[in-house]
Symmetry: C2
Subunit: 312 residues, 2 copies
């Protein structure tokens, strides 16, 4: 099967165009895709590689594809934006690449359908290396709501987080097979938050709370203080001492939950709201004037050892 | 240097935001970028891998980065659209990845500056494999001009091509170091064509004229007949018989010239126009009702052996 036959298969899966209200003007198969977005286009890209972000010796390629789209939907969620469409570029191994490419795309397409996201275009290649998946997702602001950035937190704001943290990768026999492959991007929660409440900043937790909180601290120019007794601990964290378990929650990364800030009055409303369809929201800290660092309540520094690709 | 220090460096290179008329609302460093585009967003992605699309043992990483953006600008040119911004995802080797990543980005940034294209976002990773560069470019239609697709050619239209074809990869001692690394994306020519003439279809020549003409034939549902005596032959084609040289021009690929169609009256105007800043335009064939194939003037089939990534 050639690249174009692959594109034909993909076009057969991505549906017809031109339905009333369909934002996709031109889908895969031309030099570029065309989509109606506005008033602003919100775009994010993430590249996932076999052996780094997933291990195709241990998991189905479908799950790798799912994850590649999911991490991007999580980025759009963190902007309080609506994802509309995605472009997918693939490098596939020369041997077995076609079957793998179809499985990857099936994982992407299934999740895309759940979130009403369309495939706008792509590029498919084969090579002697391992599989690489790069997904770019495009979206637009929610009606009359500005996107939420990392830079809007104010001293006095409370810090909140969705879900529970740590152990996302899995452990023991299931190492690499944890919820980092199957998490639900928090698009709906983020939509509710941005539509119904004044959120001052938001980020998705990809590198671990310690590191991602430091991004908010830095971009907003303030100190974040976290309460170590209120960090929501995932049941995926392996047994260990309280200190070990806290470290998992703070630094394992790939939680893909939302951390966000809001004025205390707003935060209290959020904490008693039932708008989030069973997703828990926890008050974990506060913002204060000061250096752009992350501390515990007693003022000691939270060390950031979150997941980070070092470039040496 | 960490990923975030790399992002800091990138932000220092991508300039300040918020200038009047600047379409970039939010650049690299948040969960997503924000850009004002409209009325439609035109998006293309291409992934280039070390050892396939370039060889970092033989060329500077800067040229690989340049090519990764250039092929995407060529796609936007082929839509008759204006490129505005790009997202870049990188997989870099663990050893020496930082220096390589900077060189790649410098190549991208230099070409971006030439075309007034901004970097909207990205993702940088390291791994045990070779370098992979995926670039997504976003653009918008020219004022009051629809994008040009592959599907609008009409029977009777003439087929034209910019520049000259074949030998793009280089040969002999210079194999891999040819103009596929340094070509100028035909954005300005495409802009002139779409603004000043009624073009019915357009494609950029990435896989070779034989193959790319077949895309127009197929998407427009007609036969394309090419005149083998009028295919513009690049001086980069190695010595050989006329048949060998024609095969290079038809199938080498990576010419990144534009093939397009127009009514004969329009085509004649284009051929005598001096609007293309020295880029030659050649009349190479015509469209006629019939099966979606590419033929020579005598009706024999032009075999497509253009560059194509096979997925086995």
């Amino acid at each position: 099967m050639s690249e174009w036959q692959f594109i034909d298969w993909l076009r057969s899966k991505t549906g017809s165009l031109g339905n009333i209200g369909d934002p996709i003007v031109l889908g895969p198969g031309d030099d570029a895709g065309i989509v109606r977005l506005g008033p602003e286009t919100i775009a994010a890209v993430d590249m996932l590689m076999d052996g780094v972000h997933f291990d195709l010796n241990k998991i189905e390629a479908r799950l790798a594809g799912r994850k590649a789209l999911a991490v991007n939907l999580s980025d759009l969620a963190a902007m309080g934006a609506r994802p509309i469409c995605a472009l997918v570029s693939l490098a596939l191994p020369e041997s077995g690449g076609l079957a793998m490419g179809r499985e990857i795309m099936e994982g992407i397409l299934a999740l895309a359908k759940e979130f009403d996201v369309r495939i706008l275009g792509g590029d498919t290649n084969s090579w002697s290396g391992k599989a690489v998946i790069s997904v770019t997702v495009l979206g637009q602001p929610l009606p009359n709501r500005a996107p939420l950035t990392r830079s809007g937190a104010k001293p006095g704001d409370w810090v909140l987080v969705t879900g529970s943290l740590g152990g996302s990768l899995g452990h023991g026999d299931k190492l690499g097979q944890g919820r980092h492959l199957t998490f639900i991007p928090r698009v709906q929660v983020a939509t509710q938050l941005n539509l119904s409440f004044e959120i001052t900043s938001m980020i998705d937790l990809s590198d671990g709370l310690a590191t991602d909180a430091s991004h908010i601290a830095r971009e907003s120019g303030l100190t974040i203080r976290l309460d170590q007794d209120h960090i929501p601990m995932s049941s995926d964290i392996p047994d260990g001492s309280p200190e070990e378990r806290l470290k998992h929650a703070m630094t394992d990364g790939e939680d893909f939950e939302l951390m966000f800030t809001a004025h205390p009055d707003i935060a209290r409303e959020i904490l008693i709201s039932d708008a989030f369809e069973g997703v828990p929201v926890t008050h974990i800290g506060e913002c204060r004037a000061g250096d752009p660092v992350v501390q515990w309540l007693d003022g000691t520094t939270v060390m950031a050892h979150g997941y980070q690709h070092r470039l040496d």
